[in-house]
Structures are given as structure tokens and as C-alpha cells.
């Protein structure tokens, strides 16, 4: 999440909201945000229902697979990064810039 923190300004320039999601408790995510100085929300999917619905829950470990979805203002998924690609938000920033141009 630190790389999303570092790109928060660039996302903001494209009128994009970042929502981190993990299966941790609200308190664990609050501590994580404070430690990294993250200002965007990190939401708690403690029942794992959202990760499961999106198909990004590792059922064996119970953790979410690292996956980024870029959703446009109409609620449509425009871009997905998985695994290693999802570590770096640069691709998502690029997509958000294009979306901003088209809006």
C-alpha cells in the first residue's frame, strides 16, 4: 500500500478515489494506515464476502489476492492488475489519466 500512498497525489489529480481493501479488522487497518501515513480509507472485508464476490479471495489462506480494479464513474471496471503487476500502481494511474481526459 505504500506505493499507492506515494501515488495518492497523482490519483487525486485525476479525480480518483483510492479504496484499499483487506480482510483485516478495522483496528488492524487503522494501525497500518497510521504506520504508513496513508490518508485514503483501507476498508475491512472481515467477512471476506467482497473479496469472494470479486473472485480475489485465496480460499486456502483466507487472504485476498493482491488485485487492483479501476472503476469509472459509471461503475464499470476499466482496468485490472493482478499479483506482481498490482504492486505498482503506475498502470492504474495511467488508466485514470485517460479516463479523466475522456470525462
Amino acid at each position: 500500500m505504500s506505493r499507492f500512498r506515494d501515488k495518492a497525489g497523482e490519483f487525486n489529480e485525476t479525480s480518483t478515489v483510492i479504496l484499499g481493501v483487506s480482510v483485516d479488522s478495522s483496528w488492524a487497518n487503522k494501525a497500518f494506515r497510521e504506520q504508513l501515513g496513508i490518508e485514503f480509507p483501507i476498508l475491512s472485508d472481515s467477512k471476506k464476502a467482497v473479496a469472494r464476490q470479486y473472485g480475489v479471495l485465496n480460499e486456502e489462506s483466507g487472504f485476498a489476492l493482491r488485485t487492483t480494479f479501476v472503476v469509472d464513474t459509471a461503475g464499470v471496471v476499466r482496468h485490472i492488475d493482478q499479483g506482481r503487476d498490482a504492486m505498482d500502481p503506475a498502470g492504474a494511474v495511467g488508466v485514470c489519466r485517460l479516463l479523466k481526459k475522456g470525462q
Binding site: D45, F69, I80
Partner: protein
């Protein structure tokens, strides 16, 4: 190790095809994750999930609910799933 034993070992190693050495030297790459159920071009399923925010009066924290649909017609949203708090990345 005797000199003769050493020579035999070197001989055995050099007889291995280079591909075999390369394979044993590097751990196998993990298999790619399965594709998500939600695809590009589809509606992102709505959700509503909590996080904690500091109270305005500084007396602690309160739970705030955020829904993806809060931003419909207003903002693009990057939904970033990650494995666990305090995991790198």
C-alpha cells in the same frame, strides 16, 4: 576429499547439461493467480465496508461505512485488494 575424488566430482558436474544447473539454481516461479470473477467491461459489484476515522473532537475513533456506489457519477475509484495489513507493497 582426495585429489582423485575431486576430479571425479568436477567431471560429474560438468557432465550435467547447463539447463539442469539453471533449473536447480532458481526456484520455480509461482503460478499466476487465477483471473478475478469480475472482468474488464463489467459493472463492479457494489459493496459497503467499514473503516475507522478519528472523531472530530479528538475523543477516539468511529466507524465510517464506505460504499462503492457513493462515487457513482462523481469519481473514478481504484479498489486495491491486498493480502494483509503490514504486508509489503
Amino acid at each position: 576429499m582426495t585429489r582423485r575424488g575431486f576430479i571425479c566430482l568436477v567431471g560429474a558436474l560438468s557432465a550435467l547439461p547447463p539447463v539442469a544447473i539453471a533449473q536447480t539454481a532458481q526456484p520455480a516461479a509461482p503460478p499466476p493467480p487465477p483471473p478475478p470473477a469480475v472482468k474488464v467491461g463489467e459493472k463492479a459489484p457494489d459493496f459497503k465496508l467499514p473503516y475507522l476515522v478519528a472523531k472530530a473532537d479528538g475523543s477516539g475513533f468511529e466507524t465510517k461505512q464506505v460504499a462503492l456506489s457513493d462515487y457513482l457519477g462523481k469519481r473514478n475509484v481504484v479498489v486495491a485488494f491486498f493480502p494483509a495489513a503490514f504486508s509489503p507493497g
